[in-house]
């Protein structure tokens, strides 16, 4: 029953997106457009997407193993929270969630479409095309409501697309994926990424609509600014959660491995970051209009590249690409999007863009250009590193992998340049920046940065890149603090009140500065945690202790137990100060084995103010234990920096300007 309703809902959503395209396009080209005509298909699409999602959740909660998706991703012993998260644990289910997020986006965008709003209606039609693709995918090759018609050895052997047939159900499912149910973060991380990925559909649709309609100016940008920033913030947050999960669960002692799956999320994020910055230049100065179109097309295309890379199996081996049904379809969709958008760009972009000249490279526009150049080159480098092995293998050449030094070598200079631009740009005037204006604003911060660098050297940091990143990171933060103090002089009220007023006066600018502080903190923390990390392998007998990096680690003994959904084999360790007397905490790295392999080793981490003490099991513990011990400086700062960067994006979108100011600006616009 749930399968039947679910599949019908998907088919209805597919039909609704088709109707939406036709109606939105007709109204956009009608003599008297009537935006209310698109309301019904939007609501039908949204409600059927929601029904499909709820049916999938219901099937998982009720242990309806006649659905092959449910039996492959859940079991009777799976805890409820991971049953719920199981709805987006694998390809078919994650596309259902994707479709729901997309339908919500279409709904919110359609609410902003006024009655004779041709640009908005055209954009809705474009979003309808994107929706049609995703719902069509669900209705065909990625149907999550496939039912089981024949059992082979207790598992589902034969499936049917049609839910009306006679179905059989395995007694129990295989269970949620061990890596997924090992940590709550893995349940939150994918939806965040999807909101990020899907969110870029809005600016893309408006950009395409502006080109189709030949509408000059920045209306499409203005109207989609909030969606771009929200999508950017969610994508960043999703990556941060993924990194955190990797650190807390995978036990290899890192948070970012330049894995193609990670790069798949980083690529659209980098280009979107470039877009958000160059969009400011277009809104303020009318420049870079064609470039913004390219960036938004690239961002949207890269979200599909990311989905393609992670979902088609191409990363594992090009040869598994042909074995998956969605791979070729996603690749086809990608090609259609890229070719048609670029063709449209070549044909119509001259109608949309006019390019005022850059007055001087020494201006805020100039710094924005540097930012864009660095970010796009960085994206190109990551793209090459990710795609090179895929292309080489596809040509029948060798199987290769690109090792981390390639990325690290590119990232370090990129980080220097970006931080430099971040420190100088926000205090540089538009049009022409005279040194006499800029210099006083950055002189003190430079000194502060250098002092911080000297301090780092004094406390024993000898890695040149780490010291340079500290200097630049502190310089960025000091510049922003200086600017805050400078501008505070113009605002009335006591300190906290005045800061609140100032930050709300221009949420776009200050939200950006908050993000910059976050990025600077993140850069320092990444440099410290990777450049100054300590890694050791330690073997201990019961009761024995070892000294690692100023700590004393004592092996208390093994500790195994059975939990409802898993078998836990752990080693209890006592972390003490260098004297082996004062206890700092107890650590228990474990192996978790679930019904389905592989067993997952979960490290145990003690987070301190200056560093993390990280222990993972290297072998099954017994009378003696083999441990991987790592010490990462400033890890908490890394997560905090990432959160601040995301918070800046949220501030830029949601901070409400003071009533008085909004009215004043409205008058200005009306006039």
């Amino acid at each position: 029953m749930t399968a039947t309703i679910g599949l019908l809902a998907i088919l209805l959503a597919t039909a609704a997106s088709l109707v939406l395209i036709v109606r939105a396009w007709r109204q956009a080209t009608a003599a008297e457009p009537d935006a209310s005509r698109v309301r019904t298909p939007v609501l039908v699409m949204l409600s059927s997407a929601a029904v499909a999602f709820l049916m999938l959740e219901a099937a998982i909660i009720n242990d309806n193993f006649s659905l092959s998706y449910v039996s492959a991703n859940s079991s009777t012993t799976t805890p409820l929270i991971f049953k719920l998260a199981g709805a987006w644990a694998a390809l078919e289910g994650s596309i259902v969630l994707w479709g729901l997020v997309l339908a919500l986006l279409v709904y919110f965008v359609s609410r902003s479409v006024l009655t004779n709003d041709r640009l908005g209606l055209t954009a809705i039609a474009v979003m309808g095309v994107v929706s049609l693709f995703w719902f069509g995918l669900m209705a065909t090759v990625a149907n999550p409501f496939e039912v089981c018609t024949e059992l082979v050895g207790g598992a589902c052997g034969q499936t049917s697309w049609l839910p009306f047939v006679h179905t059989v159900a395995p007694i129990d499912g295989i269970g949620a994926n061990p890596l997924l149910q090992n940590h709550i973060l893995m349940a939150i991380h994918p939806p965040m990424l999807y909101i990020g990925y899907v969110g870029f559909t809005a600016p893309f649709a408006f950009a395409i609509a502006a080109m189709i309609r030949g509408e000059q100016g920045s209306v499409w940008l203005e109207r989609t600014r909030r969606w771009s920033v929200i999508a950017w913030a969610f994508l960043g947050f999703g990556m941060l959660l993924g990194a955190w999960w990797s650190y807390e669960v995978l036990g290899w002692g890192g948070y970012w491995g330049w894995d193609p799956v990670e790069n798949a999320a980083l690529l659209p994020f980098l280009v979107a970051t470039a877009f958000i910055h160059s969009a400011v230049v277009q809104r303020r100065r009318g420049m870079l209009q064609a470039w913004n179109l390219i960036l938004v097309i690239a961002t949207f295309s890269l979200t599909i590249v990311g989905t393609f890379l992670t979902r088609s199996g191409t990363i594992i081996s090009v040869h598994s690409f042909t074995q998956s049904e969605v791979g070729p379809i996603l690749l086809g969709f990608l090609l259609v999007v890229v070719i048609s958008s670029l063709a449209l760009f070549a044909w119509r972009s001259h109608l949309v863009s006019s390019a005022p000249r850059l007055d001087s490279i020494a201006s805020r526009e100039g710094v924005f250009l540097l930012n864009n150049l660095v970010l796009t080159v960085f994206a190109l480098a990551v793209m090459m590193g990710t795609m090179y092995p895929v292309i080489l293998e596809a040509m029948g050449r060798a199987r290769v992998s690109v090792s981390a030094p390639y990325y690290n070598r590119v990232t370090i200079p990129v980080a220097f340049l970006l931080l430099l631009a971040m420190g100088i740009g926000p205090v540089t005037p538009y049009r022409l920046a005279r040194p006499a204006i800029v210099w006083p604003r950055i002189a003190t911060p430079i000194v502060v940065g250098l002092v911080a660098g000297a301090f780092a050297v004094l406390i024993g940091v000898h890695s040149i890149p780490v010291v340079l990143l500290v200097v630049l990171g502190v310089f960025v933060i000091a510049t922003i603090a200086g600017e805050l103090v400078r501008q505070l002089a113009k605002v009335e009220g006591s300190r906290p009140v005045a800061i609140g007023r100032l930050l709300r006066r221009d949420p776009g600018y200050w939200g950006g500065q908050i993000s910059h502080i976050g990025v600077a903190v993140l850069a320092i923390a990444i440099a410290a945690s990777s450049g100054l990390a300590l890694r050791e392998q330690v073997n201990l007998a019961k009761g024995e202790s070892a000294t690692v990096g100023g700590y004393c680690l004592v092996y208390v003994g093994p500790n195994s137990r059975t939990e409802p959904n898993r078998q836990v084999i752990g080693a209890v360790l006592s972390l003490r100060g260098a004297d082996c007397e004062r206890e700092i905490g107890t650590l228990e790295p474990v192996f978790n084995s679930y019904a389905r392999p592989p067993a997952v080793a979960t490290p145990s981490v003690h987070t301190g103010l200056t560093e993390d003490f990280f222990v993972a099991l290297a072998d099954v513990p017994g009378d003696d234990v083999s441990l991987k011990v790592m010490i990462f400086p400033l890890m908490w700062l890394l997560w905090t920096g990432g959160m601040i960067a995301v918070a800046g994006g949220i501030w830029a979108v949601y901070a409400r300007k003071p009533e008085r100011l909004r009215r004043a600006q409205k008058v200005e616009v009306d006039a």
Partner: protein
């Protein structure tokens, strides 16, 4: 006219330069992946870093201090591996592994053993081994 050409030529040359630098960097950091059969017959011993993928032959794993001795197979031929370094938690006999290191013509000296995740949340080495098996069956 000349100014118009410059407008496109300068960025194009810069872009090509950037790509060239990236490609050089890329080719310096490539690690080739081989099966035991390929190493025996196609790959000359050298100091270059390589990756070797295969299944751990049951009963071949012994340890001596922090050094691990194992034999891997691709279903056709076997190869002895001397691994010094961290051993991932998931390591077990009969399982697929990827090791990274150098090939001296008779043994593989590795210092890195890989367990990575893919979007299917499975360990990648199993996947790759499945793929290798698949290819062997086809050939």
């Amino acid at each position: 006219m000349i100014r118009r050409y410059w407008k496109f030529l300068v960025p194009a040359v810069l872009l090509l330069g950037v790509i060239a630098v990236l490609l050089v960097n890329l080719s310096n950091n490539l690690v080739y992946f081989h099966t035991p059969t390929e190493l025996h017959h196609e790959v000359a011993p050298s100091a270059d870093r390589l990756r070797l993928g295969g299944q751990v032959v049951a009963g071949t794993v012994t340890t001596e201090g922090n050094t691990l001795f194992l034999t891997v197979t691709d279903g056709r031929e076997t190869l002895d591996v001397i691994h010094s370094g961290v051993v991932p938690q998931l390591f077990d006999e009969g399982q697929g592994v990827i090791v990274e290191g150098t090939w001296d013509g008779s043994k593989f000296h590795s210092d890195t053993m890989l367990i990575r995740h893919d979007e299917q949340y499975r360990t990648e080495d199993n996947e790759i081994y499945d793929t290798i098996n698949h290819e062997l069956e086809e050939s």
